[in-house]
Symmetry: C2
Subunit: 320 residues, 2 copies
């Protein structure tokens, strides 16, 4: 694979995670938003340039695997003597909550993203969850406005960096946050009211991620709120949900990039593609699930979503 | 409207509710599972025979309105000097929880359901949430096995009457419960595993209601679990969710009855019809919302569900 007009630029962490869930634990496995976005988008055959920072402790074999998968690493800084960003967390028994046990910023503390010159006209830009000031600096480095900019963020930045966050939100096309974050950002409990308030902040599209309860896509057209809903696939077991949101985001922008279109129909399908890829991430620890996805597996899962969501209108139903 | 082969028999409470939500409060308005089921199914043009009990305090005007709407009240007992079942509750600010402030069983304490002779060959039977022993006695009074029996229940009966509840579950076609109840009944946290365990208890179909997060329909075919998911319509405001589950159940069996079919495609559409009707109930206090539903309003809402759930496969997506 090589850099081309459907390639994505993604900024996000490339890091180590230690994860404990009711199904077991893993010590210092590869994680980070950028990593999951990259593994996800490249599963769709879309080359992905990562803008990130790692320490000298990062395994070369891991970087080689990422390159072989279609990720371009020229945008990853590796300062001398640095240690990689590290996160440790433990999920509650019901998997709906988690406790952070450790956060070591390490090289992330001084990260200044630099987009390689060859990537600055990319059409598709994914701003993974990271300091909004860094997301802005990435946007500013683009030589042309990308056709689609997707922004992921979280409540942490709403708490400590609301103004820079609002500044970047005003400049993107799609914002992805969870339901609690949508409520916090808008001050509205109703997701419909929250969506209207957030779309008024700038983005054309809002994706509200509800984890096991699916994802909502909101868009305003002629003053009317248009809504699309994609469920999460009910799984036998959610082994480790770490990275599911980033996998979703990578699949979403990856599908848009491979289609080369930003119309609403494409975005709707992209939500399903992202949800399908995220379901693989949840089934195994870390990146194990998403790395193993084949075309055939993805076809089967897209069929599962189609079956789960489609219904026919009977003659009687139509007459209601 | 008159009693015919598409008419439903429904057992469930007809009662008074006092309800407090962040949007206001109502004192002693008409409620009860049977009432919501009846108002819902009759919105679809399906006559509904109610098997219930009321006190002499129940307003005649209310009963007349129910009759005019297509409900048949010959199955409602009204013991001399009795007072109607009464429930009072207060919803939390986020509407996701509620506290029961009062429960006065009154006439419900000695309720012995009797199905009028003319209804005992009905093809469609809705066992609303009530003591499982009473649900069994209703089933036993049917002269022929109905084509579809739908059972609604709740955690309360799992706590105090698990064995009779299991006995009735084994005899029905469709069980409707919420996600926490599915977990309690099966002992499984994963809804997929819970669904398999519950389907093994007897029902052909399991509906898991997740409130604002939609509803799942599970069915086993050739040993494979088949799943359909219907979202809840995101509303500007959920003013009062009381009765939404019963409205859903009434709409579900009402649609099956008017179609005269129990195939899986019909049941899927019935889930959407039930969800659409339930959305009206949530928008106003008590039965106000569901009573006001016109054909045109229902058509509009079914279109909203269709738009929210449908997506096209692009050439690129198909090639995944």
């Amino acid at each position: 694979m090589s850099w081309n007009s459907s390639s994505i630029v993604a900024v996000g962490t490339v890091a180590f995670d230690s994860i404990k869930t009711p199904f077991g634990e893993r010590e210092r496995i590869v994680g980070g938003a950028g990593t999951y976005i990259g593994w996800s988008a490249t599963r769709l055959g879309v080359d992905t340039g990562l803008v990130s920072v790692i320490g000298e402790d990062f395994a070369k074999a891991e970087l080689d695997a990422m390159t072989a998968a279609g990720m371009h690493l020229d945008g990853i800084d590796c300062p001398k003597g640095g240690k990689s960003f590290y996160w440790a967390g433990s999920y509650h028994d019901d998997m709906n909550g988690r406790d952070t046990l450790a956060t070591e910023l390490n090289v992330l503390a001084d990260f200044k993203p630099v987009i390689p010159a060859a990537w600055r006209k990319a059409k598709w830009l994914m701003l993974g969850n990271i300091d909004p000031a860094l997301q802005i600096s990435v946007l500013d480095q683009m030589e042309a406005r990308p056709e689609l900019v997707v922004l992921d963020t979280m409540n942490f930045w709403m708490d400590i960096a609301l103004e820079p966050l609002k500044a970047v939100i005003a400049r993107v096309d799609v914002l992805t946050i969870n339901d609690e974050e949508a409520r916090q950002l808008s001050g509205e409990y109703s997701l419909v009211k929250a969506a209207r308030a957030i779309l008024a902040m700038g983005p054309c599209y809002l994706i509200i991620k509800k984890g096991e309860h699916g994802a909502l896509l909101f868009h305003e057209k002629d003053g009317e709120l248009v809504t699309f809903f994609c469920p999460a696939l009910p799984l036998e077991e959610v082994v480790d949900p770490t990275g599911a949101g980033d996998t979703f985001a990578g699949g979403f922008i990856g599908h848009v990039a491979r289609c080369g279109s930003t119309d609403f129909e494409t975005l709707k399908e992209a939500i399903v593609v992202g949800s399908a890829l995220a379901s693989f991430t949840c089934e195994s620890f870390g990146t194990e699930g998403i790395r193993a996805v084949s075309e055939e597996m993805m076809e089967g899962r897209m069929r599962a979503f189609r079956n789960m969501m489609s219904w026919q209108t009977s003659a009687v139903g139509a007459a209601v």
